[in-house]
């Protein structure tokens, strides 16, 4: 078990190094010059230019610059934003809870609706129910979510006035960030109405962001379920006269969930990509919006750090899923 764990973790290291290399080269790939990109200043006098060049270590050979970059990353130093002059890591950490909260809710929504829909579709194969579930999920899967978000706003916020248009919580509440998760903070604050406000702000972004994972999970669950239902042991169990519910609940569903877990892991990437759009539309102060604004502002240290951190999260979650997969399914453990 430990061996398996270490082997898997070992695979992550080169990927991580690859990402650092990619992010490092970003600053040298952009047109124009690295000193201007990293300082955000334009038209500097030669003295200041030389000083900054030295400060950023850009006068050293490339491999040395990279090693220094790595060394800084190890110490948690991802540079400072050109605009705010705050450390990039600090900004990321203060914004990440918002993205985490939104992503978790979206994933939760996808699971709560997607799993039963997939199971039902598989059980009622080739019925109207199956077709509608598949049709709806394929539509969801093909949805341009930025447009979907606009439609949701048009319907629920503008026309019906049920939900707020943007933000995380009514601006009148000035809550101290304890966990950074607004739902929990609003409860802890004890201010009445805060939780309700936070929840109502969360609804539309959650739907917008959860749509694609929901579609994928429904489709995946259905096909995994179909696969399992065809397997011999399920048929045997049925033949032995075990009740239908028991067969489905205990044997089939458990085995069908294994590939679904992998899909959930893969959806983390989808969620973070979707967060870029969703957060932009709903003015959700998270990592996605932060990154888009940084790109618009040419705040390269933030772009670099943001990409590195986001990718690291994806890698770590996938590692976690891999390991979880190995625990559930011992065959994988041995074969790899």
């Amino acid at each position: 078990m430990l061996g398996f764990f270490l082997r898997r973790a070992g695979l992550v290291v080169p990927t991580f190094l690859g990402i650092t290399l990619l992010v490092f080269s970003l600053i040298h790939l952009i047109p124009g010059n690295a000193v201007e990109a990293l300082s955000g200043e334009r038209g500097m006098d030669p003295a200041r230019y030389a000083r900054l060049m030295n400060e950023f270590g850009l006068d050293q050979p490339l491999y040395q610059q990279y090693l220094q970059y790595l060394w800084k990353i190890m110490q948690g130093d991802l540079g400072r934003s050109i605009i705010t002059h705050e450390p990039v890591l600090g900004e990321f950490l203060s914004l990440f809870p918002a993205t985490l909260e939104l992503s978790c809710c979206a994933m939760l929504l996808a699971l709560i609706l997607g799993l039963p829909a997939g199971v039902l579709a598989a059980l009622k194969r080739n019925t109207l129910l199956d077709y509608s579930v598949m049709g709806v999920s394929l539509t969801g899967y093909s949805m341009p979510i930025f447009w979907w978000a606009l439609l949701l706003i048009l319907l629920f916020s503008v026309t019906l006035g049920w939900t707020p248009v943007s933000g995380r919580i009514d601006i009148l509440f000035d809550l101290p960030p304890i966990t950074g998760l607004m739902l929990i903070d609003s409860l802890l604050s004890g201010e009445s109405g805060a939780f309700k406000s936070a929840l109502s702000h969360l609804i539309l972004p959650t739907i917008a962001l959860g749509t694609i994972p929901l579609a994928v999970i429904a489709r995946m669950t259905r096909s995994a379920m179909l696969e399992v239902l065809r397997e011999d042991y399920v048929r045997t169990a049925r033949a032995k006269g075990l009740s239908r519910l028991r067969v489905i609940g205990i044997h089939a569903l458990r085995n069908a969930l294994i590939p679904v877990i992998t899909v959930i892991g893969l959806q983390v990437g989808t969620l973070l990509a979707g967060a870029i759009l969703t957060e932009t539309i709903f003015s959700w102060p998270g990592v996605g919006k932060w990154l888009v604004e940084a790109i618009h502002r040419r705040d390269y240290p933030v772009v670099q750090g943001g990409i590195l951190l986001t990718a690291s999260i994806v890698i770590l979650v996938n590692l976690g899923v891999d390991i979880l997969y190995g625990i559930i399914n011992p065959r994988i453990r041995r074969s790899s």
Partner: protein, 297 residues
């Protein structure tokens, strides 16, 4: 695993014909094919079909509602945008751009990805590790984030969007090809032709590649939908096509402000994106089912 087909006819039909038969059994896929054909048609004959030029501004007809709504005009069936351009014509010309983005970025990723996959699968060892690690790195970045980053480097614009999406889609093809190559290389016929003295190039293109075309075709079709979707997203963020290019996503970029006053500006471009992405997804799913039932999700 799969049981052999029962009662095979004495003379099997032509494989393409059989493919078509399987394909036709899937009504969704047929619908997808229909829409894709329609899109191709629109793109090819945009000049003839579109009632107006894409960038022509009718300054006496700003923000006109669709023809069936009060105040609408039959000159502009789907209404006009805030500078008086015909939305229908822009959507028709936009077909061209979206398909072009699809074709260029899919060919780019298919070409490079396949070659990388072949190299990795054939040479194994350090080459494989290097290539596949690189692909892992790219897959670790959420697709849109990677595309956004590439555009941030190259600068906004239609051509750069194509490159960006091409790069984003690349790892899927490389992975698929590599897996197929490794699978095929261990088979007897490859071994035989290898012993007969076939060079690596010949081996790859004659023996290996034809055997992994099926999944690649499926992936390429699905790649189209991903390309259209990502290009629209970049356009929406203002990083893609620049005005006055009639790109669907870019048409939505400033749409938020019309959410209360002009619903048609917000609705139609998104609907067209959804339909075309859906069509390619249906087509891809249908092809997958028809080409290889085992690949079924």
């Amino acid at each position: 695993m799969n049981a052999p087909h029962p009662a095979e006819k004495s003379e099997p039909p032509h494989p393409l014909l059989e493919l078509w038969r399987y394909f036709c059994m899937n009504r969704g896929a047929l619908a997808g094919l229909g829409i894709v054909c329609l899109l191709l048609f629109l793109a090819a004959f945009a000049e003839t079909i579109a009632p107006h030029a894409a960038a022509e501004q009718y300054r006496d007809a700003i923000l006109l509602p669709p023809a069936w709504q009060e105040g609408g005009s039959s000159r502009f069936i789907l209404g006009t945008d805030p500078v008086g351009r015909d939305i229908l014509s822009r959507l028709i010309y936009g077909t061209r751009l979206s398909l072009l983005i699809g074709i260029v970025s899919v060919s780019l990723s298919l070409g490079i990805g396949t070659v990388l996959g072949l190299l990795a699968g054939y040479f194994r060892g350090v080459t494989e590790i290097a290539i596949m690690r690189l692909m892992d790195v790219m897959l670790a970045l959420p697709s849109l984030l990677l595309a956004v980053a590439v555009v941030a480097i190259l600068g906004p614009g239609l051509i750069n969007v194509m490159y960006a999406i091409g790069i984003v889609l690349l790892p899927h093809y490389a992975r698929l090809t590599r897996a197929a190559v490794i699978g095929e290389m261990s088979k007897d016929y490859v071994l035989a032709s290898r012993l007969a003295g076939a060079g690596p190039l010949r081996l790859m293109f004659d023996c290996v590649l034809p055997n992994c075309t099926a999944p690649l075709i499926v992936q390429a079709t699905l790649g189209f939908s991903a390309a259209i979707l990502d290009a629209a997203a970049l356009g929406f963020l203002g990083l893609g096509a620049q005005p006055p290019t009639p790109e669907w996503g870019a048409m939505l970029a400033s749409a938020l402000e019309f959410i209360q006053s002009a619903w048609w500006v917000v609705t139609f471009p998104g609907l067209v994106i959804l339909l075309s992405v859906l069509a390619f997804n249906l087509l891809g799913d249908g092809l997958r089912d028809a080409l290889d039932p085992k690949l079924k999700l």
